[in-house]
Amino acid sequence: MTTTTPEQATAPVPPSAGTVRKKRRRVDMRQYGILAALAVIILLFQVLTGGRLLYPGNVSNLIQQNAYVLILAIGMVIVIIAGHIDLSVGSIVATVGAVAALSMNSWGLPWGAAVALSLLVGALIGAWQGFWVAFVGIPAFIVTLAGMLVFRGVALVLLTGGTVSGLPRAFNSIGSGTLPATGSPDLITLGIGALASLALVVQQLKGRADLRRLNLPRERTVSFVLKIAIAVVAIMYLCYLLAYNRGTPIILIILATLVLLYSFLLSRTVFGRHVYAMGGNLYAAMMSGVKTKWVNFFIFVNMGFLAGLAGVVSTARAGSAVASAGGSFELDAIAAVFIGGAAVQGGVGTVVGAVIGGLVMGVLNQGLSILSVDAAWQQVIKGLVLLLAVAFDVYSKRRTGR
């Protein structure tokens, strides 16, 4: 029996030939399951709508109309992994939207400053809620239920006159504008797609090279190549569709940045690891030295910040602020997170999963609208999809022996 010191422990030892073959880095089937579900839903609606779902104009619309769910889902998945819930995000969207509109129309702020103020207000609201959750120890369900009422009320107070519209064009383009385009097809969009694909390939190859260098288990070459090929095709097809419409929506750039940033935050940083550790076993995290209160606080500050961003985006998209904005946004975001494979008990979930879950909801919205299904029935269908997605997840977990 020997036990190494940490320094010795870090030196990789070449594994014997027998063990190499067996050890493959496990592919997370759960994640691919939801991706497959998204593909099936897209194909289904593509057939049902006679190909109209993936018309260039509709794709651009889909992204811009559902940006708020995706932004909120990114914040919400972190909240849910840590074992909390946030019911207030819809109301925060309304309050921040009101602040954004008023600051430009009534207080005379330039649009850039208004956006900065809006994000700050979102973060402050998050800090307020985080304070109660983290330092006073009130369950997030209660704190954010209160917040849902409070900030809906604040939005109503701010917007006593009803709708505030006539916002600057530059502001509105955050929600509905595109990058400059060269015509149809737009070469800039295609260029962005090519760059993104290249970056993806380079990053994946580099990661794999690192694994090989350190003699760590790797995915099978076939599935690795296949995965990248599918991703590249998907990116290029999306850009091709956008290039034949009006070009790259500005919001797509914002979304892509957020997905990359937050995926990295959750999977690669100490902060992200602490979030998973707390969701998995709060006591064990405390006893490992995690500053659980501060982590909880920042989770809510971040949620507030992203809700603020969603407020800016949806106000810009609508071109006006109303107190009823953001109604049931929190439910859309929570549904997206759970469709994306997060666990109700916490500890499990990914940003990419939540975004795919949000896209499932978005495609449903878009597809059902194109088919002019009644709004009431749309709700029924979305509810059932949520239920089935989670039921499937529970079932597959049980089958593999929890």
């Binding site: 029996m1 020997t2 036990t3 190494t4 010191t5 940490p6 010795q8 422990a9 870090t10 030196a11 990789p12 030892v13 067996k22 050890k23 880095r25 496990r26 690192d210 694994l211 350190l214 760590l216 288990p217 690669r268 940083t269 100490v270 902060f271 690891r273 602490h274 998973y276 550790a277 998995g280 076993n281 006591y283 064990a284 995290a285 405390m286 006893m287 490992s288 030295g289 995690v290 500053k291 666990a343 500890g347 499990v348 593999t400 022996g401 929890r402």
Partner: protein
């Protein structure tokens, strides 16, 4: 070999292609206490789940025969209808319900859906008397200790007209008195004709009450033989369990004790809620480099409370006293500060405080020392994997890969993950609270080896344990604690179980313990 009540033949159970049971056969005679022995992960609990219908008929191969007739249980309800009742290691009582309500939960004394409370309470009282529990049937379960809860479980089983009572590690969480009472009760039930199957790691217990023992290793029946009260039996069981004779329970060690490493002075801790109550009273002790110091005390004496309060005040209120490392006073006001100052605490309750059970081995091993693997808050995951894999080899953690989820490992392997986590944090002072609780003989030996190795590296090692032979076998010096006070200090040569027990029960003896 005459009157077999239960026969399990050629049981094979697979999980994701891995065989947990590989053709196990057991024959239990009517009216005996039949012990099932085996290392953690040998398949004992899986076998009992097969028997009780937790894994339904069809999800495994092999046959089960009860009273000569083959049975096919689809659920735990089916097996209970036949009088096969299992009491799990983790008790399954509802804390806010009364004893009577718990006993008849799912089996209520009722007419047309309306509960007959008088008969419920009457029958509950009779059952309580039968198991020797002196409590009112209306008492809420949360007011009972683990020992009494165990008796409620047995009363519940009796209410179901139990024929075969299966007990999974019934005494793992009990103190000596409660264990003795429980074992007495099992013998009493045997005299009333109830057959018991008992899964246990405690060879002394098996020797005391079992009539027959079946040893399982790696999912296979190794042997089955009658138990008589002799030392040879223990040796035989151990040999069958580990597949080799175990010469000694403790690996050899040459202590090399250096200068004083760790000192605690006048450490006082109050109860976290009942803030007036003193839980640890002016405790002072020292540990030298390379020394293994044991802490002996009965349940509730304040051992864990002392350790956890030193480790970042993770227990208690109104804490006062001083902590020195290498002669310099250090602060341990938060867990983070304690870790930074080179203290590690391996908890007695690894599932609650030690592990993220849904996380992989990798994330658990790195959890207390992420800073070492991160630059600017970004974790080097490749290095992290390599570190975890290295510990897997060093600690002999039995798993297909360090990406495996910790919750699926056996108790001994989980404990090795917790130890890896704290050793990787690079401590100077290692506090181990019940390091071998619920762990089989083979894994215990390995963990003792790890503890010795830590001492050999010059760390100050503190071991808290309820098992006195373990403390005596491992420690260079032992402190005894009773009612929050240190009541004695014995070196290895003078420590006997009798002497330790005398100090552990000697409350209010003043002036002992501090050099």
């Amino acid at each position: 070999m005459n009157d077999v009540i239960l026969q399990m033949d050629g049981i094979i159970k697979e999980f994701n292609g891995i065989r947990a049971l590989d053709g196990v056969s057991v024959a239990v005679e009517r009216g005996e206490v039949h012990a099932i022995c085996g290392e953690n992960g040998a398949g004992k609990s899986t076998l009992m789940k097969v028997l009780s219908g937790v894994y339904p008929h069809g999800s495994f191969e092999g046959t089960i025969t009860l009273d000569g007739a083959p049975v096919a249980y689809g659920s735990i309800n089916d097996s209970e209808r036949d009088g096969v009742v299992i009491i799990h290691q983790e008790l399954a009582l509802s804390p806010y319900l009364s004893i009577a309500e718990n006993i008849f939960l799912g089996n209520e004394v009722q007419r047309g859906g309306v509960i007959d409370w008088n008969r419920t309470n009457l029958q509950a009282a009779e059952l309580l008397e039968r198991v020797g529990l002196q409590e009112s049937a209306a008492t809420k379960v949360l007011e009972l200790g683990v020992g009494k809860q165990q008796l409620v479980e047995i009363a519940k089983a009796l209410s179901k007209k139990v024929k075969i009572l299966i007990l999974d590690e019934p005494t793992a969480a009990l103190n000596d008195d409660d264990s003795a009472h429980l074992l007495g009760l099992i013998e009493q039930l045997r005299d009333q004709g109830i057959t018991s199957i008992i899964i246990s790691h405690k060879l002394k217990e098996i020797r005391a009450i079992a009539d027959t023992v079946t040893v399982i290793r790696d999912g296979q029946t190794i042997e089955s033989f009658p138990v008589e009260d002799s030392d040879d039996i223990e040796t035989r069981i151990i040999r069958a369990m580990v597949g080799r004779p175990l010469d000694s329970q403790f690996p050899p060690r040459e202590p090399s004790i250096g200068p004083e490493k760790f000192r605690v002075e006048d450490w006082t801790v109050h109860h976290p809620i009942d803030v007036e109550r003193v839980v640890v009273d002016r405790a002072s002790f020292t540990v030298h480099a390379g020394e293994i110091v044991g802490f002996a005390g009965l349940m509730g004496a304040g051992r864990t409370e002392l350790a956890m309060s030193i480790f970042g005040r993770s227990y208690g209120s109104g804490i006062s006293g001083r902590v020195y490392k290498d002669g310099t006073e250090i602060q341990t006001r938060t867990v983070g500060e304690a870790i930074r100052n080179g203290i590690a605490y391996v908890t007695e309750d690894r599932k609650r405080y030690g592990l993220n059970l849904i996380g992989s081995i990798t994330v658990n091993v790195s959890a207390a020392a992420l800073g070492k693997l991160a630059r600017l808050g970004i974790i080097d995951r490749n290095r992290e994997y390599a570190v975890a894999d290295e510990y897997r080899k060093q600690m002999n953690i039995k798993t297909p890969s360090v990406s495996s989820v910790v919750g699926n490992l056996s108790g001994g392997n989980q404990q090795k993950v917790v130890l890896s986590k704290w050793i990787y944090s690079g401590p100077d002072v290692l506090i181990l609270d019940e390091p071998t609780r619920g762990i089989d003989v083979g894994a215990k030996y390995e963990i003792y080896g790890i503890i010795n190795e830590m001492a050999a590296q010059g760390k100050a090692v503190i071991v808290i344990s309820s098992e006195l032979p373990e403390l005596i076998g491992l420690s260079d010096r032992i402190y005894t604690i009773a009612e929050g006070k240190l009541t004695g200090e014995l070196d290895r040569a003078h420590a006997s179980q009798e002497e330790l027990m005398r100090h552990m029960t000697a409350a209010r003896i003043q002036g002992a313990g501090t050099p």
